[in-house]
């Protein structure tokens, strides 16, 4: 009881992160997810992205698909975070322990993010391949990975939030796919072009596009770490996690 508060916070964070990570790997889910993610990433990069046909030593055709790949992959990873607790009733157990809501919310998010980073890290053969075939700008590749990493975090935070809304994993999945899709589309070139040709004022289109994942993700893919893009992703994460905590708090009031 006399432990300093920061010490117990770290202990609680670690305990929850450990539990969440183990629960991915206790069941076959983790392995299935990782294999499918890698297969799909390969399929898009080589078959649709035309990795070889480009004749360039870049990972552009690899990273350009991530917003679409994550659209289904990340909600599938995040959908169970809270809805499973609600379905099993373990939420009651968790919130009668001496833990704070933010600790659990952050820990669950971090655990799943670690899992996503692990999946992303397993794409290292692409980096080796382009380095072997040509002479790529590894700074741009690193930048691409940072963008992909932040993008997955933003999707995941949204999935955490929708997962807190319902005890059904399916509903949580669908809600989170829809929200992420909207955030992709509002800045996706074909959609913004359509808006401009249909007579929407440019400032409005810019404003809406500024909220999109795509606008900020593409900036990072060009090899420029613009602090505005980083701040954008971090604020999506913080906002979604905050909303997540509010949803859970209000439910008990």
């Amino acid at each position: 009881m006399s432990q300093p508060i920061s010490n117990t916070s770290m202990g609680n964070l670690k305990a929850v992160i450990k539990r969440e990570l183990l629960s991915y790997f206790f069941s076959p889910i983790a392995y299935v997810f990782i294999v499918i993610f890698l297969l799909l990433a390969g399929f898009f990069t080589f078959m649709i992205g035309g990795f070889f046909e480009r004749g360039q030593a870049t990972l552009e055709s690899f990273f350009m698909w991530h917003p679409w790949l994550y659209l289904f992959f990340v909600p599938a990873v995040g959908m169970r975070l809270w809805s499973e607790e609600k379905r099993l009733g373990t939420l009651e157990l968790l919130f009668t322990m001496p833990v704070q809501l933010w600790q659990v919310a952050v820990a669950k998010f971090l655990a799943s993010w670690i899992f996503l980073i692990l999946a992303l890290a397993l794409t290292f053969p692409y980096v080796i391949t382009v380095n072997w075939l040509g002479d790529p700008d590894n700074g741009v590749i690193l930048c691409g990975y940072i963008g992909s990493f932040l993008l997955s975090g933003a999707y995941l935070a949204i999935s955490c939030m929708t997962s807190a809304l319902t005890r059904s994993q399916v509903i949580s999945f669908i809600l989170s796919v829809v929200i992420c899709l909207l955030l992709i589309l509002c800045g996706w070139m074909p959609v913004t072009d359509l808006l401009i040709t249909s007579g929407a004022p440019v400032w409005l289109v810019d404003l809406v596009a500024g909220l999109s994942f795509m606008t900020h993700y593409e900036g990072l893919q060009r090899g420029v770490v613009d602090s505005r893009d980083v701040i954008y992703f971090l604020s999506v994460i913080v906002f979604a996690l905050f909303t997540n905590a509010i949803i859970l708090r209000d439910e008990r009031a």
Partner: protein, 322 residues
């Protein structure tokens, strides 16, 4: 140790708990009785800090649950209804996780896990995954979770639900043993449990406390409490009945059972009469009349009758005449 003041909880327009107050001190075991949906679980969820009360206060030890939730929660061990558990974990991994959240570390932690496993007889399933466990083991695993940090306060929502008679007996004696040095509140709708384990009981119905007292006090409010039952071998039961009716202190005599050789009578004393003096008078009468009697006892009253009388006032007459 635990003080609940005017606790109220509404869900939309539905009032689940309506002004519940009570106090439990160290060394007391409080039984929480009530029909399903009476507000028992909701009250417990507010005491443990899972639900925020619409109004009212919960004090655990020196702490107010909604002002110092962490300190208050540290004092409590809680077994929620239906014993929720993380299905994908093993029993020992689950208990270690709970021990982590309870702030136990290192040797202290493994000692606590071992002790909880021993107390709840979980040695044989220690390394088994929780989803493969039978209901009794699941319940005991969740129970183990609630006592792992040796809390001063234990709150158990239907701790014996779904257990077989032997396990029920074990849990009850565990509650009684722990109740000597802790504060225990447990809910149940099994009345014999209250008699077996509680030092006091509360009956709650439609969100309100409708009766309060020790099990004995509650039993005394039973309509039959204090009546004297006598079994007499006599060829003419009606004659016996009228003789018993003749005793001054008797207000009414019922024939409970009538068959050939022996009949059972129930004498209900007048309001001011003690049942002791009535049973003495009846035994004297048996002596003077020279009846053959093989049973004479004073009814203690039964909790289930009290429970029915209080929680179902409309059908009281129907069940009493049974």
């Amino acid at each position: 140790m635990i003080k609940v003041e005017n606790l109220r909880k509404t869900f939309g327009s539905k009032i689940a708990v309506d002004g519940v107050s009570f106090e439990v001190k160290k060394g007391e075991v409080l039984g929480f009785l009530g029909p399903n949906g009476a507000g028992k679980s909701t009250t417990m969820r507010m005491i443990t800090g899972f639900l925020q009360p619409t109004a009212g206060k919960v004090r655990v030890g020196d702490y107010n649950m909604w002002e110092n939730p962490l300190q208050a929660k540290r004092l409590i061990g809680y077994l929620p209804e239906n014993a929720p558990l993380y299905e994908d974990m093993t029993v020992s991994a689950f208990l270690e996780f709970v021990a982590d959240l309870r702030g136990l570390r290192g040797a202290e932690k493994s000692k606590a896990v071992d002790k909880a496993v021993d107390t709840c007889f979980l040695q044989s399933v220690r390394h088994q995954s929780i989803e493969t466990l039978s209901k009794g083991y699941r319940h005991r695993t969740c129970f183990a979770q609630s006592i792992i940090h040796d809390p001063e306060v234990l709150i158990l929502d239907e701790p014996t639900d779904g257990l077989d008679p032997n396990q029920k007996h074990e849990v009850r004696s565990l509650i009684r043993r722990m109740g000597e040095e802790k504060v225990i509140i447990f809910s149940t709708h099994i009345l014999e449990e209250v008699e077996a384990a509680c030092s006091s009981a509360i009956i709650i119905d439609r969100g309100r406390i409708v009766a309060k007292g020790t099990p004995d006090e509650l039993k005394k409010t039973s309509p039959r409490a204090g009546s004297v039952v006598v079994r007499v071998h006599h060829s003419e039961p009606d004659a016996v009945k009228s003789r018993l009716q003749g005793i001054n202190d008797v207000s009414e005599v019922e024939v409970v059972e009538k068959n050939g050789a022996a009949s059972v009578f129930r004498a209900i004393p007048k309001a001011q009469t003690s049942s002791d003096s009535l049973s003495l008078q009846i035994s004297e009468m048996i002596g003077t009349e020279n009846w053959k009697c093989d049973e004479l006892h004073t009814e203690e009253g039964r909790l289930d009758e009290v429970f029915r009388k209080i929680t179902m006032p409309d059908t009281e007459t129907a069940s009493a005449s049974k």
